[in-house]
Amino acid sequence: MNLFRSEEHAKRWNGYDPAMADALKPVAEWADIFSNPFFRQRGRADYISWTRSDDGAATFTLLRSQLPRPIEATR
């Protein structure tokens, strides 16, 4: 879960896996994913309870749908 200077730099990284090519995104797109309430709500006093509420569960489901998965796992 790293940042790179460009797409080319990420692909040259020795940890790059083509099966996770969908996980290569501009930092602004990752910033948008990490704007999900699951991350925004971390400062609330009842955060753990909130993650287990209907609202929290719906948020987490939305987040999971936005996260890239390995190519073989999506078949």
Binding site: M1, R5, G15
Partner: protein
């Protein structure tokens, strides 16, 4: 496993300390803060890092990672309104630090793992203030939320 009310109080107390001081409380401090026994405090630390998901340093009760922050230094150095002292758990979680410091500028500095050249990302609330270099990307080689032993490196 602690009850929800205690989990809420514990999570909030740890996060407040991390945001304010860049360190996590020891379980003895957490126990005193919450008015619970030492063993209950120690177990609470382990319960919370397992669900956040963070981790303790292996074989210890010391919180090493509490997302979006890392207490053990990483290559993602963070300054908040110009004050240094924090580290991000990973490059992607770094983009979520701003939600814990509303109205303040979170600046992330890191070397590129490919070439070692510097990168800078600045964010404040909804705005991305600076991306240098501009084509900066994020990448993970494993599923987010995957196995605990791969979390720092994927």
């Amino acid at each position: 496993m602690a009850d929800l009310e205690l989990l809420d109080r514990g999570y909030s107390a740890i996060m407040a300390e991390v945001v304010d001081r860049g360190r996590a409380p020891h379980f003895t401090e957490l126990a005193a803060d919450l008015g619970i026994g030492l063993e209950e405090g120690r177990q609470l630390i382990h319960d919370l890092v397992a669900m956040t998901p963070g981790w303790v340093h292996p074989g210890t009760d010391y919180v090493a990672s509490f997302p979006p922050f890392n207490l053990q230094p990483t290559h993602y150095s963070v300054t908040i309104d110009g004050q240094p002292g924090w580290y991000a758990q990973c490059g992607l979680e770094a983009t979520a630090i701003r939600w814990l410091v509303p109205g303040k500028t979170a600046r992330i500095e890191a070397p590129c793992l490919c070439c070692g050249e510097p990168m800078v990302l600045e964010m404040c609330d909804e705005e991305i203030l600076a991306v240098d270099p501009e084509p900066m990307v994020g990448y993970t080689s494993a599923e987010i939320g995957g196995s605990a032993d791969s979390r720092p490196f994927r």
